[in-house]
Amino acid sequence: MLEDFIRSVFQGVPVGAVYALIALGFTLTYKTAGVFNLAFGAQAFVAAAVHWELHVHNGWNVAVSAAIAVLVVSPALGVALDFVLFRHLRAASSGARLVTTIGLLVAIPNITKLVLRFTRHPSTGGARGLFSGPDVVYRPFGDAYPITRDELVQLGVVVVAGLALGAMFRFTHLGLRMRAVVESPRLAELGGVNSARVGSFAWALSSAFAGLAGVLIAPTYQNVDAANFFELVIAGIAAAAFGSLVSLPRAFAGALGLGVASTYLATVLPTNSVLARGLKPSLPFVVLFVWVVIAPGLRGQRDVADPLSGVAPPPPASAADERSRSLTIATRGFWSVVGVIVAWAVFFAINDFWLKRIQVLLAVGVIFLSITVMTGIAGQISLCQAAFAAIGAFATTQLAVEQGMSVLVGMLLGGLVSALVGGLLAMPLVRIGGVWLALATLGFALFFHSVIAQLAVVNGGVSKPRTPRPLIGSIDFAADRAFIVLELVVFAIAATIVVLVRGGTTGRFLAALRGSEVAAASIGIGQWRSRVTAFALSAGLAGLGGGLLASAQQSVNYDVSFSPQVGLFFVVVVVTLGSRSIEGALQAAFGFVLFQPLILERALPWVINHIQPFLHVNAISGLFRDILFGLGALTFAKHPEGILEFQKRRSLNRIQRSIDRRKQQPTEAGSTP
């Protein structure tokens, strides 16, 4: 037993050192830039990719290449992010800034892949750290406890960096100024601090730290892949949460503890059980979730408002919802015509390829309605909607195949199971709210991914059962067009529920809570019931949509449709295109499903090739879809109603004004003598 533990310490400390690098960097970003930076892993990936490109691909000297990646590219990226984005978001809510970092998390790795052409030459061939040759193994404590050179370097760097950062905060004036700028850049300016420069420096520093982590951690994996860094960041955040995101020593201790604990668990649990295989990689996520729920320090942690935020000009008023009756009738008429044309195309013109996509679109639309409820109505950011959808998809499949249930009943039960899970999950979480709620849901999503979704009871084992199509009496929905009709009915019912909830008591309570929790509480609106209801409804809709999607595709494509990364992308797409309305969800589904095959691969190249003879474009890479939507999410802080919604309202207002003007002119002409 004791020997097991000692071995776990030796094996776990290097793992913990990797977590610690991220935890320190994450704490640093939070303390000095005030941003809960989920894109930290993306910044690390950029440095690792640049290092790989220069050193492995182009054969540059390893030290030069690493120095450029860590000391030039990374700080420049940080300064650019500050300059273009975060400087302007200081007054935005922490939730809005979190969405911004999620957008970056999606966009940055894809931009990097595009710029470095990572897709053309596969990035295998060994990721590299600070040494060019193969790794060296040392055995100073006997053969039982080997330690590699990379691990030693990681451990050494994290200790030195931790001490240096600690010293910076304790003994230099710069650390103090950075913290002051985070709380209120204007108050700091009144104290004679150049807050713009201090803010840029903070970003350069934390980004360089991300780059250092990226280069050091790269050799841990076979190849340079953004997904690896993403999961590491979650583990790092779990460690940083131990220090409430402010204490460097506690973040460090948390990281080492996490490393040792996950190694120890793997040795004591029965080998090859699902628990042993799943729990080791998912322990950080479980710890993150549990810690967020139980930690007393985090619960009360709210944003400290900038006392001088009123100095900034108020955000532009969103265009009025009200428009004249004639304009409403005109727009409705326009959309009815579009609807009829689309319906005609769907039922008489288009081929199988597009039919399949329309089916996916409608199912995804139902899933996206769940984000309308969660983010648009309840004002919360949940990052586990894909997991809820997966619950529905798996439940539908299992109930139909194993229990022989009617598929439609299976879908409904799947939605209920998902709603139940969502409600249970919400109960401890709603008190916390904001960024921590988002993190806890991400913890759940990753736990679901690495443990629950791997269970044979859930995914049906190796046989991969096919999800059947529904059959009601004599109506068989196996045919694609019939299934589309069913999907339209389900979507209409789901949309009606969403509209009713939004306009009902729960919706109004949630709107009040979104405005101000304190003010809502003072007139007797509690957050618990309405938020748990919203969470359960949202999870239920996601589950229903998941079941529909599985039935549409006749199988559960877990990795393609329901993985945690896909879930992040869901949120990004919906908040970009409109999280407040039913149209927003449909637009998002269109963007998610059809943007790539229709716009990027066909319409846009066609237009480009026909307007000019010089440049011939084939299908445009799907990377652009992720990049565009990732960048689109950056507008969330400014236009929380969604960029498309914002544009639509603006142009409608313009039309309205020109109508008004035309109406006014005759009367004015008539009144002048």
Binding site: H173, L176, R177, R179, A180, E183, S184, R186, L187, A188, E189, L190, G191, G192, V193, N194, S195, A196, V304, P307, L308, V311, A312, P313, P314, P316
Partner: protein, 230 residues
């Protein structure tokens, strides 16, 4: 001698909302000016223009003969202008000592900074007792002391004090105004923004009354009472 602070035909706005319309006045070194007016008259905006927090959209701001219209707030601060802002004016997440260190650091070496902080504690012993306390947990009066301690130690050239009496008990308000009198004796020029007219007029030589973003009265403080009707 040119006046210490001089505003000429200043317009200012927050986005589409215009708050000041052609405001002009000047402030002689060593004097005290009371800036009065109803809610929404533009007092706080004018105070912010005087310290660089809000940039004027037209007109000019000159400090000690130098044009400051395009400068940023930290440059105003480094020139010797201190702004005690309305409401909370300390860093709530930092300790008392860190707040003082931040406010007193510019132009001082490490050893000088320690001396300056000790000076602040000598002036306000209550702050010394709470040096490790997070400033956000101080009472309103103690927070005011913390922001004024810096002014007493630093002896800036101009203090812009916005609504110092807001939310404070009358006895604390008296204390705050006694402190302002000390600050003036030490040679600092004062620009006091107040809704509680009597305190401000008692200490000021000149008064400016704003009415809907323009100057409605400018003249000796003792005649201002009749104008506001108090």
């Amino acid at each position: 001698m040119s006046p210490l602070l001089e505003l000429e035909a200043v317009d200012a706005s927050y986005g589409p909302f215009r708050a000041l319309f052609g405001v002009s006045f000047s402030l002689e070194s060593g004097s005290a000016l009371a800036l009065l007016g109803a809610n929404g008259a533009g007092k706080t905006t004018l105070a912010r223009v005087c310290t660089g927090l809000v940039a004027p959209t037209a007109g000019s701001v000159r400090f000690d003969g130098v044009d400051f219209s395009d400068r940023r707030a930290f440059e105003f601060a480094r020139a010797g202008i201190v702004h005690a802002v309305e409401g909370r004016s300390v860093f709530a997440t930092l300790t008392v000592e860190e707040n003082l260190a931040l406010a007193l650091a510019s132009g001082r070496k490490r050893s000088e900074l320690a001396v300056a902080i000790d000076e602040a504690y000598a002036l306000f012993p209550r702050l010394g007792e709470r040096r490790r306390q997070i400033a956000g947990t101080l009472s309103g009066g103690e927070q005011r002391m913390l922001s004024l301690a810096r002014v007493l130690v630093d002896r800036p050239r101009l203090l812009v004090a916005d609504e110092l009496s807001l939310g404070l008990a009358p006895i604390i308000v008296d204390e705050v105004y006694q402190t302002l009198a000390r600050i003036r004796e030490a040679g600092t020029t004062l620009l006091i923004v107040e809704q509680h007219v009597s305190h401000a007029l008692a200490i000021a030589d000149t008064a400016v009354i704003l009415e809907r973003g323009s100057v409605g009265y400018i003249g000796p403080a003792r005649d201002a009472r009749a104008h506001v009707g108090v």
